[in-house]
Amino acid sequence: GQQVMQIPQYQHVQEGEDFTTYCNSSTTLSNIQWYKQRPGGHPVFLIQLVKSGEVKKQKRLTFQFGEAKKNSSLHITATQTTDVGTYFCAGRGAGKSTFGDGTTLTVKP
């Protein structure tokens, strides 16, 4: 079945440093979504990418969808303590979405 791998599992950064998490699918995706889960909270939708090579920005967050529609990345510029949490990708293929295991970001002030 479809597998979605996410790396790294954990990332510790100093406040102000950049952060990137990567998502790779075993199959071609129709879309990919990104979610953020704050500690003790529930996943909250951030964005959806649909087109090959698509790039979207939300303030300091940049999302990319690969040309082959099998990989994606989330990049945060100049991290802040409010960015802490776990970031999940969810790749949609064959009628349903599969979540990656997430990247947990901690930010040291």
């Binding site: 529930h42 909250v44 939708f45 969810a90 979540f99």
Partner: protein
């Protein structure tokens, strides 16, 4: 709109007991899902439904049952609770192929 509402928020069960986790959504979404999240881990799909009367197994369905008699409600039944079912359970809903809306979760401990 309330979105996705889960009850209870917390529950402690004894081994062998049964319970139903409630989930209701008011967004008229056809798709609904149940996930479990163990500490420090990702989301594992238990069951999902593409519409009233239709349910299907996810990755980890053993020990659970679901029903979908209405568009709004998607309860998850635990029979004969085991310590391995200690987890946080999230219900979610979505239109087909679109963003998921998650409930705030049920934190279940089996002792």
């Amino acid at each position: 709109n309330a979105g996705v509402t889960q009850t209870p928020k917390f529950r402690i069960l004894k081994i062998g007991q049964s319970m139903t986790l409630q989930c209701t959504q008011d967004m008229n979404h056809n798709y609904m899902y149940w996930y479990r999240q163990d500490p420090g881990m990702g989301l594992k799909l238990i069951y999902y439904s593409v519409g009233a009367g239709i349910t299907d197994k996810g990755e980890v369905p053993n020990g659970y049952n679901v029903s979908r008699s209405t568009t709004e409600d998607f309860p998850l039944r635990l029979e004969l609770a085991a310590p391995s079912q200690t987890s946080v359970y999230f219900c979610a809903s979505s239109p087909e192929g679109a963003r998921y809306t998650f409930g705030s979760g049920t934190r279940l401990t089996v002792v």
